[in-house]
């Protein structure tokens, strides 16, 4: 079975993009699955998810539904925010920052496109922080399997 390699994420706050000589505004970002080229960032994120799963298993009786399973039937858009929240629940602030930095590195290294142009720091600096959290959640649910 071929796995989905990319999906579109809708932004709550549009960002400016230089395209065809003009500044345009985009409300969608195309997210692309990480490849071996992105292994450093991918490993940091995957390890953080594994940590969250392990922690949620420890607290299973009280927190059985916090970390989303890849076998669940819920759609990715619903699971994304749950995943983002679980990172904040189970990781300390330094670990979360490390995950977010790894994710932004992924995005500017070929795993993100906006209006068919590669994502750059210029775009990331305009992103709404809540959009970035939600995007991270959906990215994990779509592309990280255990």
């Amino acid at each position: 079975m071929t796995r989905k390699r990319e999906f579109e994420f809708s932004l709550a706050a549009p960002i400016g993009v230089h395209k065809d000589g003009e500044k345009q505004f985009a409300d969608k970002i195309t997210l692309v699955a990480p490849s071996v080229k992105n292994n450093k960032s991918r490993c940091i994120i995957k390890q953080a998810i594994a940590h969250c799963i392990a922690e949620s298993q420890k607290n299973r009786e009280s927190n059985s539904d916090v970390v989303a399973s890849s076998e669940t039937n819920e759609d990715f858009a619903t699971l994304g925010p749950i995943m983002a929240t679980s990172l904040y629940v189970f990781l300390d602030s330094n670990q979360i920052l490390e995950v977010i930095n790894a994710f932004t590195d992924l995005l500017i290294s070929g795993c993100g496109r906006v209006l068919d142009t590669p994502l750059t720091t210029f775009h990331l600096e305009q992103l709404d922080a809540e959009d970035l959290d939600k995007m991270l959640g959906e990215y994990i649910v779509n592309f990280f399997k255990f």
Binding site: H18, G21, E22, K23, T120
Partner: protein
């Protein structure tokens, strides 16, 4: 009204922040040149005519870059896009000017050596602020 000097802008061209030589950036918003001439109406009647010289309503962004492999690559990209470059100049105190349909117009000679710089000039539509 207190004001802040524009000293440390960020120049973003085609979504990429450009590393340029400090204090070398110059921008012309493309507001053009206007003139007022007197006209005689006979006797004591004197009036004025206002001229807006649209010939000069071209914006300009100019800055220096050190000669590096990145500079040469960017220069080639900008030239290949014709007037399809977009420039955004952002100053730290919040002023942003967007320059649409910019063309990298000047001929560039890359001097090979230590501490060498080139001037990069773009011209295009009047800026949007």
């Amino acid at each position: 009204m207190p004001s802040n000097a524009l000293v440390n802008p960020q120049i973003i061209i085609n979504n990429i922040a450009i590393p340029f030589v400090p204090n070398s950036a110059k921008i012309d918003l493309g507001t053009g040149e206007q003139n007022v001439k007197a006209v005689a109406g006979g006797g004591a009647v004197v009036d004025t005519v206002y001229f807006n010289d649209v010939e000069n309503s071209v914006s300009k962004v100019e800055f220096d870059m050190y000669v590096t492999d990145v500079t040469i690559e960017l220069h080639q990209d900008w030239k290949s896009l014709g007037n399809g470059n977009t420039i955004e100049v952002v100053e730290v105190n919040g002023i942003t000017a967007t320059f649409p349909f910019m063309a990298h117009t000047n001929r560039v000679e890359f001097a090979i050596g230590n501490d060498k710089m080139v001037t990069i000039t773009f011209m295009g539509n009047p800026a949007i602020t």
